[in-house]
C-alpha cells in the first residue's frame, strides 16, 4: 500500500493527521476476484449444459471428435502468455517499468495469435459443423465463442494498462491495474484448459 501525500495539503487540514496514513489500494482487486468468481460460475453452467445436452455421454460427440492439431498449440500459446505476463508483473514490482510494459506487449501479441489460430480452427470446423447443424454445434460454438469474447475483454484490459501513463504506486486510482488485469488474463487462460479437457480431449479418448 502507498502512503498518502499529506504534505501537499493546506496547513489547517494537515494539522489533524488521520488515524492511518496508508492508502487503500485493494478494493479493485477485491472486485476483480468477485467478477472472476461470477464468470467462473458462468462457465461452470456452460459446461453443465454441455454435459446435460450430451445426456451423460462424456465423450460426446461420438462420430468425428474435434481435432487437436490446433487446439493444443493454442493452449501452449496461452500458457506462454500467462508466463510472460507473470514475469512482467514481477518486473513492475521491482520497479523495472519498461520491462513490465514489454512483457505486457508480448502477452497481447500472443493473445492476438491465439485469436488468429482460433479463426483458422473455426474455418476448418465450419466445413462440417455449424452452430445450426445440431445441438452439439450450438453448444460447441457457444462455449468457444464465449471464451473468445472473454479473451478479447482480457486483451482490452491489458491494452488499457499498456497505455496507462504511470505504473508507480500513486495515491489516485486506478490502483494496481497491472495486477488486476493480469488476474483476469490468468483466469481466461485457465478456462481454456477446461475447454481443452472437456470439449477436445475427452471426445478423442477411445
Amino acid at each position: 500500500m502507498s502512503t498518502i501525500a499529506l504534505d501537499r495539503l493546506p496547513p489547517d487540514v494537515a494539522s489533524h493527521p488521520p488515524l492511518v496514513s496508508e492508502l487503500d489500494d485493494r478494493r479493485g482487486t477485491a472486485a476483480m476476484w468477485l467478477f472472476i468468481l461470477t464468470e467462473a460460475a458462468l462457465f461452470i453452467l456452460l459446461f453443465f449444459s454441455y454435459f446435460y445436452l450430451a445426456e451423460g455421454g462424456w465423450r460426446w460427440p461420438m462420430e468425428e471428435p474435434p481435432k487437436l492439431h490446433l487446439a493444443i498449440p493454442m493452449l501452449v500459446v496461452l500458457w506462454i502468455s500467462s508466463g510472460v505476463l507473470h514475469w512482467g508483473e514481477k518486473q513492475v514490482k521491482a520497479r523495472r517499468y519498461s520491462r513490465g510494459r514489454a512483457g505486457l506487449a508480448v502477452t497481447i501479441l500472443l493473445g492476438l495469435i491465439f485469436l488468429v489460430m482460433q479463426a483458422f480452427e473455426y474455418r476448418e470446423h465450419l466445413r462440417t459443423l455449424s452452430p445450426q447443424t445440431n445441438v452439439y454445434g450450438s453448444i460447441f460454438y457457444t462455449i468457444t465463442t464465449f471464451h473468445a469474447a472473454h479473451l478479447i475483454l482480457g486483451l482490452l484490459m491489458l491494452l488499457y494498462v499498456l497505455f496507462l501513463p504511470r505504473y508507480e504506486p500513486v495515491d489516485r486510482p486506478p490502483h494496481r491495474p497491472f495486477h488486476n488485469a493480469a488476474l483476469y488474463w490468468h483466469f481466461v487462460d485457465f478456462v481454456w484448459v477446461w475447454i481443452i479437457a472437456f470439449l477436445y480431449i475427452a471426445p478423442n479418448t477411445r
Partner: protein
C-alpha cells in the same frame, strides 16, 4: 472549528445541484432514493396490471381482455414484480442505509453504484418498450420452452424478455459485488462481524447467492435468444436439444432468487422488531446463522419446482428433504422475533404492525409451502391457484409487508419528516385484510382444480364466488397501498420533524442528521457493542480529529472480520460516464432486438470508449 470542518466536508462530498450533478452523482443517498422511487413505480405498474387481471377473472366468461393480451399482462405483472420491484427495492434500502449503518461515507465503488442504478432503470424501460410495440413477453415469468421458442411464440415479445433480463443481470451482479466489498471493507472500527446489524448478514448472503446463481439466468436467456434469433438448437428436440435444460438452468437461478427477494426483508425485520420491543433481539447468532444457512441450502432445492416433470425417485427425495430443511431456518427466525416481542415491551407503531402482519403471512405462506414440498401433494396442486396463492403469500407477505414496515421505520431518516401513524395503521389493516381476502380463496380454488394462467373460466364449476371475492380483495389491497403513498406525499410538507433518532433506535444510521449530511457523520464512528446508540460509548469521541478525514474524499477501510482500521479509502468524484455507458448499453440491446448488428457493434465500441474514460486516472480534488 467544527463548523469549518463541516463546511469543508460538505464541499468535498456534496453533488452540485445542477443538471450535470443530477446525471453524474455518485452519492449513495441520492442513488438509494432513486432506487426506492423507481422500484415503487414498478410496484405500482405491476399492481395495476394485477388489478386488470382480477377484473377479467371477477366473473365467468368475461371478455375484457383477449387471451393474448391476458397472457402478456400476467407475464409483465410477474416479471415486473419479481425482477424490477422485489429485489431492487431491497437494494434501494441497502444502498441508502448500509454505508450509514457501518459508518462509511459511501459504498466501496460509488461509480459502480451509479452504474447499477442506471442499468436497473434502463433495463426496466427497455422491457416496457415492448408495450409500445404491442409485443410484450407472454410466457410467464419462467418462460418455459418449447412454448417460448420461435415456432410457438413468434414476434419480439420473448426477445424483449430474454434481453431485458440479461441487461438486468449485469446491474444486479454489479450491485452484489459492491455490497460484498462495502460490508467486508468499510465497516467502522470496532464493528466486528459479531456486532454487525442483521441486515448486513442478509445482504451479504444474498449477494453471494447472486454472484453464484445469477449467471445461470444469463446462460438460459442467452441460449433462448440464440435459439430464437439465430437458429441454434439448445431447446429444440428435432436438433437434439433438451427443453428440460431450460427448466434446470432457470431454477438453479430461480430458487436462490426467492431468497434474494426474501432474506433482506427478514434482515430489516430483525432490525426494527427489537427497536419497537425495546430490547436486543433474542438469539442474534442463531438468526445470523440461519440467514446464512438459508442462502446456502437455497442452492439445493431448485428441483422442487420440477417435481411434475418425471425424474428419479432418489433425486426428488433429496430435493424434497432439502426444501423441508429450509423451513427449519425460517422457523428459527420466526421464533426469535416472537420471543423478542414476547419478552420486550412492544410499542405498536404502524411499522411494528406491518412487521407483525409479515410474520403472520410468512407463517401461512411457509406452511402451504411445506405442503407443496410433499411430492404427492405437489402433483395434485401443481400449476393450480394453490401455487399462485403460496407464492403470493410469500412474495407479498414476506417482501411487500416488510418493505412497508421499513418505509414507516426509515423514511423519516431519508426525508426528515415523520409519516402519520394513524393513516399508517389504517393502511396496514386495509392491506392486511385485502391481502388475505385476495389470496386465501385461491387456496380453495387450487384444490378445486382451477389451473393458473387461464384467461377466463366457465360458470358452474363452483369457482364464481371465490373469484369475485378475490377480485374485491385485490381492490381493497390497492386502496391500502394508495393510503400509504398519500401518507408519504402528505408527510413531505406537513409531517412532524423527525430529528436524529425518533424511534430511539440502536444502530449507527440514527446518529446522523435526518436527512443525513452528504458526508454522513463528521467523525467516522467507532463501535464497541451490537447496539452503538444504546450503550455508554460515545461513537464520535475523537479529540485529535483523527477520524474527520477531510484531507480529500476519503473514508476508512478496515479489516474484514475484526474491523481494525487499515487504510484510507480514496473515493471517486461525480462522473457522467456510468450514465453514458448505460445509454450505449441500451442502444446495444435495442439493436439486438431489431437485429441491426452494425448498430450493436457501435453500441459495444461506445461502451468500451466510455469505460476507458471512466477508468482513466484523474487529478484529485484537494480541499479548498
Amino acid at each position: 472549528m467544527s463548523t469549518a470542518i463541516e463546511e469543508r466536508l460538505t464541499n468535498l462530498w456534496e453533488t452540485p445541484h445542477t443538471l450535470y450533478g443530477w446525471f453524474a452523482t455518485v452519492d449513495h443517498k441520492q442513488i438509494g432514493k432513486r432506487y426506492l422511487v423507481t422500484a415503487m413505480a414498478f410496484l405500482i405498474a405491476g399492481g395495476l396490471e394485477a388489478l386488470v387481471m382480477r377484473l377479467q377473472l371477477a366473473k365467468a366468461n368475461q371478455n375484457l381482455l383477449s387471451p393474448e393480451v391476458y397472457n402478456q399482462i400476467f407475464t409483465m405483472h410477474a416479471v415486473t414484480m419479481i425482477f424490477w420491484y422485489a429485489s431492487p427495492i431491497l437494494s434501494g434500502f441497502a444502498v441508502y442505509f448500509i454505508p450509514l449503518m457501518i459508518g462509511a461515507r459511501d459504498m466501496a465503488y460509488p461509480r459502480l453504484n451509479a452504474f447499477t442504478y442506471w442499468s436497473f432503470l434502463f433495463s426496466g424501460l427497455f422491457l416496457y418498450g415492448s408495450v409500445l410495440v404491442g409485443q410484450s413477453p407472454h410466457g410467464g415469468w419462467f418462460a418455459y420452452v418449447p412454448f417460448t421458442s420461435k415456432t410457438y411464440s413468434p414476434g419480439l415479445g420473448m426477445d424483449f424478455y430474454a434481453l431485458a433480463l440479461i441487461f438486468l443481470t449485469i446491474s444486479t451482479e454489479g450491485g452484489a459485488i459492491n455490497f460484498i466489498v462495502t460490508i467486508f471493507r468499510l465497516r467502522a472500527p470496532g464493528m466486528t462481524v459479531s456486532k454487525m446489524p442483521l441486515f448486513l448478514y442478509s445482504t451479504l448472503t444474498i449477494s453471494c447467492a447472486i454472484i453464484l446463481a445469477l449467471p445461470s439466468l444469463t446462460v438460459a436467456c442467452v441460449f433462448l435468444e440464440l435459439d430464437r434469433q439465430w437458429g441454434f438448437h439448445f431447446f429444440d428436440v428435432a436438433g437434439g436439444g433438451a427443453p428440460l435444460l431450460w427448466q434446470q438452468l432457470f431454477w438453479i437461478f430461480g430458487h436462490p432468487w426467492v431468497y434474494v427477494v426474501f432474506l433482506p426483508a427478514t434482515g430489516m425485520i430483525s432490525m426494527l422488531i427489537p427497536v419497537f420491543s425495546r430490547r436486543p433481539i433474542v438469539g442474534y447468532p442463531y438468526v445470523a446463522l440461519s440467514t446464512v444457512l438459508t442462502g446456502l441450502v437455497g442452492f439445493g432445492v431448485w428441483v422442487h419446482h420440477m417435481f411434475a416433470v418425471g425424474m428419479s425417485q432418489m433425486g426428488m427425495s433429496f430435493f424434497s428433504a432439502a426444501s423441508m430443511t429450509i423451513s427449519i431456518f425460517s422457523a428459527v427466525q420466526v421464533f426469535a422475533w416472537l420471543a423478542t416481542v414476547w419478552t420486550g415491551r412492544p410499542i405498536p407503531t404502524a411499522s411494528f404492525k406491518f412487521a407483525m402482519g409479515f410474520i403472520a403471512l410468512l407463517v401461512i405462506g411457509g406452511l402451504n409451502g411445506i405442503v407443496t414440498a410433499v411430492i404427492p401433494v405437489d402433483w395434485q396442486v401443481h400449476d393450480t391457484y394453490f401455487v399462485v396463492s403460496h407464492l403470493h403469500y410469500v412474495l407479498v407477505g414476506a417482501n411487500m409487508f416488510p418493505v412497508f414496515a421499513a418505509f414507516y421505520y426509515w423514511l423519516p431518516k431519508i426525508t426528515g419528516r415523520m409519516l402519520d401513524e394513524r393513516v399508517g395503521t389504517w393502511s396496514f389493516w386495509i392491506m392486511f385484510i385485502g391481502m388475505n381476502v385476495t389470496f386465501f380463496p385461491m387456496h380453495l380454488l387450487g384444490i378445486e382444480g382451477m389451473t393458473r394462467r387461464i384467461y377466463t373460466f366457465p360458470s358452474g364449476l363452483g369457482w364464481d364466488s371465490l373469484n369475485l371475492i378475490s377480485t374485491i380483495g385485490a381492490f381493497v389491497l390497492a386502496v391500502g397501498i394508495l393510503l400509504s403513498v398519500l401518507n408519504f406525499f402528505a408527510s413531505l410538507s406537513g409531517g412532524r420533524l423527525a430529528g436524529r433518532n425518533p424511534w430511539k433506535a440502536d444502530t449507527l444510521e440514527w446518529s446522523t442528521d435526518s436527512p443525513p449530511a452528504p458526508y454522513g457523520s463528521v467523525h467516522i464512528p467507532t463501535v464497541v457493542s451490537r447496539h452503538p446508540l444504546w450503550d455508554d460509548h460515545d461513537e464520535e469521541e475523537d479529540p485529535g480529529d483523527a477520524r474527520v478525514l477531510d484531507q480529500g474524499r476519503l473514508t476508512l477501510a478496515s479489516t474484514s472480520l475484526d474491523a481494525e482500521p487499515l487504510a484510507l479509502a480514496r473515493m471517486p468524484e461525480d462522473s457522467l460516464w456510468p450514465f453514458l455507458f448505460n445509454l450505449a448499453m441500451t442502444l446495444f440491446f435495442v439493436a439486438l432486438v431489431i437485429k441491426w448488428l452494425w448498430l450493436a457493434l457501435a453500441g459495444v465500441i461506445a461502451m468500451l470508449v466510455f469505460n476507458a474514460f471512466w477508468l482513466w486516472p484523474k487529478p484529485i480534488k484537494r480541499p479548498a
